[in-house]
């Protein structure tokens, strides 16, 4: 009786450890497999893909596939640059002004401070997408469709980022040091720029990554606002791949997808440690 009671849990743990690793490895394979097929097939000709859609090794048609894309005026560089401009602009606006707003919430006592914070929390979850029709009509009236500013400026008001920045700033910012900087003759805006921003750098980096990625990946808003071909972002260009002219160009479609995914994968693997920590932090701080 006592013998089994001791050995049984050990056996069970061994068994469940095995299941754990099998499941985790399967999930890892599941995460990589689609991208693996994509990268390999980006180097293969349409004929090769038709014969065998899965291959272990790359082929030699990369340049060929690239030529097919350029012939169809699929210029990945345009999309890349447009996405880069919009995402960088939106990220700068979001982190700078969110930190400034958080500073107002943490460092100063003003009568509407608490109501304002409650308001931030209340509007935090509402996604912009549900009011896109009014937004589009408004931008159309201002003549701002096909203007990148329509996608950059709204980032100044990012309630979730303000919320995060405030939570980070509360314990990190020493008001006494603000006060001594003040005695040294620094203005409030100077204090923010040269004293608060450096302290907030870890939080700014985290939020910058997430704002950048979500702006980069956004399809709905850019798709309704940017109607000119030369203004297309990367996701908009990807959406063209459903069109009939790509129906039989298997290799080229894989290559176009690979070009849209590769920059993100590189960024992800370089910053993965911070990204995972950032996701985890989001839940702790809530």
């Amino acid at each position: 009786m006592t013998g089994t009671a001791i050995t049984k849990p050990k056996q069970m743990r061994k068994q469940s450890n095995l299941i754990l690793y099998v499941v985790c490895i399967l999930l890892a394979v599941l995460a990589i497999f689609p991208f693996y097929v994509m990268f390999i097939n980006a180097t293969r000709s349409t004929y090769e893909v038709q014969a065998h859609a899965i291959s272990l090794f790359p082929s030699s048609f990369l340049a060929n596939n690239f030529k097919v894309l350029s012939d169809k005026s699929f210029n990945a560089m345009t999309g890349f640059v447009n996405s880069l401009i919009i995402s960088s602009g939106a990220t700068l606006c979001a982190v700078y002004f969110s930190t400034l707003t958080a500073f107002a919430l943490v460092a100063y006592s003003w009568r509407l401070r608490q109501p304002f914070f409650t308001f931030i929390m209340a509007v935090m979850m509402i996604p912009g997408q549900v009011t896109s029709i009014g937004f589009y009509q408004f931008m159309y009236k201002l003549g701002m469709t096909n203007n990148f500013l329509a996608l950059i400026l709204p980032a100044v008001a990012a309630p979730a980022t303000v919320f995060f920045m405030r939570q980070y700033m509360m314990p990190a910012l020493s008001l006494d040091m603000c006060a001594s900087a003040r005695i040294d003759g620094a203005g409030e805006f100077r204090i923010f720029n040269s004293f608060v921003i450096p302290i907030m750098m870890p939080a700014i980096a985290t939020q910058a990554i997430f704002t950048f990625v979500s702006s980069w990946n956004n399809l709905f808003m850019p798709m309704i606002l940017l109607t000119r071909k030369e203004n297309a972002t990367m996701p908009i260009m990807v959406s063209w791949l459903r069109g009939d002219i790509y129906k039989t160009e298997y290799g080229a479609v894989y290559l176009a997808l690979a070009m849209s995914v590769l920059p993100l994968l590189i960024v992800y693997f370089v910053l993965s440690k911070y990204i995972i920590a950032g996701v985890a932090l989001g839940s702790v701080k809530e």
Binding site: L20, I54, F97, M125, Y268
Partner: protein
């Protein structure tokens, strides 16, 4: 919520700094009013008018103000899209939260040291960061007919003798769209739950162990109740995201076959930006979703507020007991 008043920030030599509080919020408020509040009101107004047509910019109010709303609510495609949205969300969320809980259970085990835990987390989260548009097109190609990789595998394994056209089957399309959502989001949910469990007071687990609780018992009786708020939070934020599902159903199969994977966002997009450009109908549909989402997010709001208040009360009690200084309470209130 009581704020700690720290005197140096407030006034020095009679100078009031309150105005800077207002000043530094101006950019946020101005942009919010222009780019969030005004479009919301504008959408609501368009919902009561006759605005449609690609080139039309003038509109007048309808004699029956709620005509668009009635038309939308009785529109078969809208109803179908709404049901689809919920269906797609449910068949992705249930396995997602179950897998995330299992992973949280495994990755927070106190006795178990998982090799390469960091590597696994990086792998699980990876799909989340990749553009949903690219992912949708990629899966469309992977499940392609007749020359897609999945059909290739099925035939090589001898599971099928001929290629299967996934895009023609309503349920295959639904399952694949849900699977993509699941695949993109389970890693995120798992990381949130793992850090939630790691945030639970370790003393709770220790005392459970001393009392002789099994790992299963500890999980069901201690871990789950402790992360209840995070679970509800995950549920509602995922539901709000699910109600806005657009890229994957739009690009995987363009809402098809025959609207079988059309979601409300796809419906709104198609109403407003293709065919007859029915901005008024699309606005009415948007406002219906807006109201549902506003109700859901108010639940999140109260949850978070309650959490603050209880955290604050706990801190106040602790502070009173140990006579700690207010500065510490302020520090604690942030976490």
């Amino acid at each position: 919520m009581q704020m700690t008043e720290t005197s140096p920030a407030r006034k020095i030599k009679g100078v009031s700094y309150a105005k800077y509080g207002y000043m530094f919020c101006i950019p946020f408020m101005v942009v919010w009013l222009f780019f969030s509040l005004y479009p919301t009101i504008y959408t609501a107004i368009i919902g009561f008018t006759d605005l449609k047509g690609a080139a039309t910019r003038t509109y007048k109010f309808l004699p029956d103000l709620f005509a668009n709303y009635n038309a939308i609510l009785s529109n078969a495609t809208f109803q179908k899209s709404f049901v689809n949205t919920l269906t797609l969300w449910i068949i992705n969320f249930i396995p997602q939260i179950c897998l995330a809980m299992l992973l949280a259970y495994w990755f927070t085990g106190r006795r178990r040291d998982i090799k390469a835990a960091g590597f696994f987390k990086v792998m699980f989260y990876m799909p989340n960061i990749i553009t949903a548009a690219s992912v949708a097109i990629l899966f469309n190609t992977l499940f392609g007919y007749p020359f897609g990789p999945i059909n290739d595998i099925l035939k090589s394994l001898g599971l099928r003798s001929e290629s299967y056209n996934f895009a023609y089957s309503p349920w295959a399309s639904k399952l694949i769209v849900s699977f993509i959502q699941f695949w993109q989001w389970y890693g995120y949910t798992a990381i949130i739950l793992i850090s939630g469990v790691l945030g639970v007071n370790p003393e709770l687990f220790e005392s459970a162990e001393i009392d002789g609780a099994s790992r299963g018992q500890t999980f069901w009786k201690i871990t789950l109740p402790s992360i209840r708020t995070i679970l509800v939070f995950t549920l509602i934020t995922s539901l709000i995201g699910g109600l806005n599902m657009f890229e994957v159903p739009k690009l995987f199969n363009n809402g098809g076959p025959v609207n079988e994977t059309s979601t409300v966002s796809v419906f709104i997009y198609n109403q407003a930006f293709s065919g007859t450009y029915q901005y008024n109908r699309a606005s009415a549909a948007s406002m219906i979703m807006f109201i549902i989402i506003a109700i859901l997010s108010s639940v999140v709001f109260y949850l978070m507020r309650d959490r603050y208040e209880s955290a604050q009360k706990k801190l106040a009690r602790r502070a009173a007991r140990s006579g700690a200084i207010a500065g510490q309470a302020r520090k604690g209130a942030a976490t």
